[in-house]
Amino acid sequence: MADSSRLCSVFLGSETGILKGVSLSRKQAFNFCNTQHLSRDQEVRVLVWGDRAETDLLLGARDGSVKTFSLEKGSFTETRSCGDPQEGGFTGLEVLEEGGLVTCQETGTIRVWRESSSDPVAEVITGKNVSRMRQNPAQRNKMATGGKENGLKIWDLENPKNPPVFSAKNLRDDWLDLKRAQWVRDMAFIPQSEKVVTCTGYHQVHVHDPSSPQRRPVMEMEFGDHPLTALSLPTGGTSVVVGNTRGEVAVLDLRKGLVRGVLKGLCGGVRALQCHPSLPIVASCGLDRFLRIHSLGDGKLQHKVYLKSRLNCLLLASQREEWGGGAGAGSEEVKKEEEEEDEEDEVWENMERVEEQGKRKSTTEEEEMLKKKSKKGED
């Protein structure tokens, strides 16, 4: 168990409560669970790394418990109850730098938990119907939440009583002066700036900029006809990958608002998308029970793994060796190419030169005549 957990490069949580690990280089999938104690209550809703070194995984289950899975040991080490199952499933689970846990459930209360007590240390009420909560990777105490009829709000956990740092305004009323429906499904913080990208259930993608005085979205885009359920930012910061309930995954350009390309292969609703932090790779999983890895440059499917249950969330173990340290792999490949070219030159030089001999001239003439005649015939 311990060996297999160290080999896996992608971890996924399924609806049956099983934590799955996939090793792409060895093309194997492992189930980390106790088969006798499976139950739908343990449905994994969120997965997050326990620390930056990626040695511990935290799972949020449907019955409100948060489990810790240690990759070194290959088993679950801890379980703690962090929420009421009646409040809906987990919509966000994040880890604070000082070692606390932040959870958010569908009814909208963000709770901060510490090791010391079994009660939440701090609570923030964000409104009803929260679909997702995400942490700002640069400023770890800021959390963004959004949901149905609940716009994007950014909260500062150090001042939980204060109103949100940024609260987005809905789009302008439409041409009939009716209020627009809003349903924020997923969001992400764009690195090296304050902007936040959100995708909505009404197939829109918005970019908000808290540093500007404008509370309405700075950029609006639409994709497809079905709700967008998952979002991820590749490196580069100029594009965003979105997936919808029909299995259409597209790369959208954030500068112009156009669709750059579509990643084909999925046939069920996309539940989770994640881009690798350094390589141009995106992993997707969803209701069709497959994990797919596409390359972002040309949109080709690199890996497809059948995992027998519907998948809810995924995590890439980006520091694993099988991805290759990004720069290292690149330079190795370049070296290999150069070596091959040198070898080829040597091969050509070593070959004997074959020169045409004089005797063949007459026969070549005849062959040319024949060719001419056959050409004439075809005409």
Partner: protein
């Protein structure tokens, strides 16, 4: 004039050969005069090439349609003759060998050549067994609920669809047909749940013919959308038996091998009550072949231990799955478990999903 010097025997060219012959001969004489030296070298070369490769002459080069057609028919007849001869030879060889003959070759069919689907369900798989044991149909398969089906159509149905719905209601036990009255499905569903219905079947109609089926499992179950084709009502069936009785039929589900196939198979199985009444001797068959699901309804009788007689009753139709959505009917905001994407999935002829 460009004339091909084709080194074939003169008889080969067809019935209008006689007209061509003299022209050929005069031209060859001219050519012979011009190139006396090269000829002896040419001829042996041509003959050598003749035995090695066939002449580069094809029937399509003849411009005259009648002559070309004639040549082509001749060519075909020769081909079929050759084929017959080869066949006879093989048969003789086979009889001569007797027991030692190599086994007969199995012809390739698309079903034989089917690409192995990795989602094929292994009967001993624990994870899938757990998944199926706790999914939306578990209440039915554990015997807790009895099926109750509501059959309706799209708004303002016309003759054929109405008759199809009535006949479906006789085939599926405990089924009720209701007129649609333009009501929204999302509003019908909570009312059905309140009245303990387990299935909602909506037959969609286009130009007086049924062409779509939405099958929604009720408390919170998956919704499948099918395309219906080849509907044959009872009147159109040849040699059919009397109308089906009220006994609940047995159900046969053929060839639902993949995970998606299992889900659809269970969807169909849950339409019928769990205990079939063998007294009625009726059987409903859902046969999956090449992603098309064929529905047939028969009455059988065992004449003796080895022989069975069957009569086809009831409507017959073909279904093709277009999408399977998780949750009750919500085509705009629901999550799809499987969607038919024609250009991606129909690219390979030997790959099937169900």
């Amino acid at each position: 004039m460009d004339i091909t010097e084709v080194p074939v025997s003169n008889d080969n060219k067809g019935k209008k050969n006689e007209y061509k012959k003299p022209k050929n001969k005069s031209v060859t004489k001219e050519r012979n005069a011009v190139e006396p030296k090269l000829e002896p070298k040419l001829e042996p070369k041509l003959e050598a090439s003749e035995t090695a490769f066939p002449p580069t002459f094809s029937v399509s080069e003849i411009k005259n349609k009648q002559r070309r057609h004639h040549m082509f028919m001749k060519f075909k007849q020769e081909k079929s003759k050759l084929k017959l001869q080869v066949k006879k030879k093989k048969k003789k060889e086979r009889e001569a060998l007797g027991d030692k003959a190599p086994p007969k070759e199995v012809p390739k069919t698309i079903e034989n050549q089917r690409v192995y689907d990795e989602t094929t369900v292994d009967p001993e798989d624990e994870e899938i067994a757990f998944d199926e044991g706790t999914d939306e149909f578990s209440a039915y398969f554990n015997g807790l609920t009895n099926p109750k089906v509501l059959i309706t159509t799209s708004d303002r149905p016309r003759g054929r669809t109405v008759r199809f719905c009535e006949q479906l209601a006789t085939v599926v036990p405990n089924a009720h047909v209701y007129y649609r009255r333009g009501l929204a499905l999302k509003k019908i569903i909570p009312q059905c749940v309140a009245r303990n219905f387990t299935y909602l079947m909506v037959i969609n109609e286009d130009r007086k013919m049924p062409n779509g089926l939405v099958l929604c499992h009720l408390p919170d179950g998956p919704t499948a959308h099918f395309k219906i084709s080849s509907v044959r009502l009872r009147k159109e069936m040849k040699r059919r038996g009397k109308d089906p009785t009220e006994h609940s039929p047995e159900v046969i589900l053929n060839n639902f091998t993949t995970r998606l196939g299992h889900s659809i198979g269970r969807l169909f199985a849950a339409l019928f009550p769990q205990d079939p009444q063998f007294v009625g001797r009726q059987v409903a068959t859902f046969h999956n072949q090449r992603d098309f699901i064929f529905f047939r309804f028969h009455r059988y009788i065992f004449k003796n231990e080895k022989k069975v007689g069957i009569q086809e009753l009831g409507p017959r139709f073909t279904l093709k799955l277009r999408s399977l959505q998780k949750g009750t009917f919500d085509s705009k905001f629901g999550e799809y478990e499987w969607v038919l994407k024609r250009h991606e999935m129909d690219a390979c002829r030997r790959k099937f999903q169900i």
